[in-house]
Subunit: 234 residues, 2 copies
């Protein structure tokens, strides 16, 4: 468990940039330390904020769970990325990012090292993905000069959700491969923020298909400008 | 949408057997009608009960969503079942069922045609699976003489949850293959009841691994006898 601050009720969204930079530094150090252990195949870094996101603790805290297996869920994403690479000779995530930047309408924020956007097929309303611009399979490969950028864009995304949506419950999770252990260099780590505004129900459980009542382009416009895009059906 | 009863606030758990039999008959007719449509590849039958399960309507209702695709989630389960069949010459679900009956400690109820049990690796507390004893890939192949048994065991399971756990929110979903369309005869349909007593959080989202704080054998004993099993840690 990583406790981000001595302040009991100040969420990440309201922290100063220099505080967030220390948080990111801590995430990275703890993650790197855990995956260095020979028994660990995978470490999942995540945060649960609010009761609907599965926590009843107000005090901001993230968690890293180290497992001695690579879950099927991660293997699936690695395999798909590898297959795309075998077919096209490129990282699928680099291509997604390039497409999003070119297209622009789902972008929420950018800085020198990171981009945040609402994914094309967002599973939940106001889902937000943060990608490093540089092809980086493993979160552990984050460079010192990139840490400020990650702190910056994470704070930006969380602050937008906080102010525009009234502090919604959310989870964030770092999706990463661990190439020295799992061998898949084709992955590209990213951070996924999922507000808990809707409830996963029977259809999602039975089919794995998520019903998202919102439009990603409108969600992005609202997070970016505070206004809905033309054609918003919400 | 299938509305089970004209009574606004009588859940399935409190219905009479003959009423449940008509409900099962209706599920089967509507399902069969939908998958007969050439545009439909898959039909997902499910119920959401209570706010934590994704519904705010009290009046009992189930839903069937027909899709023109077979979701990856279902394909995965079909593929695993087929691979098991290729390796062992048997249906994996028939083997699971046989193992559960032989083992006995996770069984909750049995009748001539159906068995309900808490699965060995239950993802959530008090998860309950209902299996037809007869190898049946597709819910559409349910026979007339089996409908009473399904009504009986479904009512039994829901009543146990209702009385022993104080009417918890739950989802149920019918997991089925559609062999005339999808071609996988090795599947074995079953109904999955998932009480919503815990919340899926960041670790589950990130890894696909579910943290279940309860012990399946104790959950089964509690549902069966109203008592926890020896060694219960709950």
């Amino acid at each position: 468990v990583i406790i981000e601050t001595p302040w009991h009720n100040r969420p990440l969204a309201l922290m100063r940039h220099d505080e967030l930079e220390l948080v990111v530094e801590t995430y990275h150090r703890r993650y790197s330390d855990l995956i260095a252990d020979s028994r660990v195949m995978m470490a999942t870094l995540f945060m649960n904020h609010g009761e609907r996101a599965g926590t009843s603790l107000i005090h901001p805290h993230a968690q890293i769970i180290a497992t001695s297996i690579v879950p099927r869920h991660i293997r699936h994403m690695e395999r798909e990325a590898l297959q795309y690479f075998d077919e096209w000779g490129r990282c699928v995530h680099c291509d997604i990012l390039e497409h999003e930047i070119k297209c622009g309408e789902r972008i929420v924020a950018e800085n020198a090292h990171f981009v945040s956007f609402v994914p094309y097929a967002a599973e939940v309303p106001f889902e937000l993905w943060i990608y490093p611009r540089r092809h980086t399979p493993d979160f552990g490969l984050l460079r010192d000069e990139e840490k400020g950028g990650l702190a910056d864009i994470l704070r930006d995304g969380l602050a937008r959700l906080y102010h525009r949506l009234g502090d919604p419950d959310f989870n964030f999770v770092v999706n990463t491969s661990v190439p020295p252990k799992t061998g898949t260099k084709r992955y590209h780590w990213h951070l996924q923020i999922r507000p808990r505004l809707t409830t996963v129900a029977g259809f999602e459980i039975g089919s794995g298909i998520h019903v998202n009542p919102s439009v990603p382009e409108s969600d992005a416009a609202f997070l970016r400008d505070g206004q809905s895009a033309p054609g918003d059906v919400a």
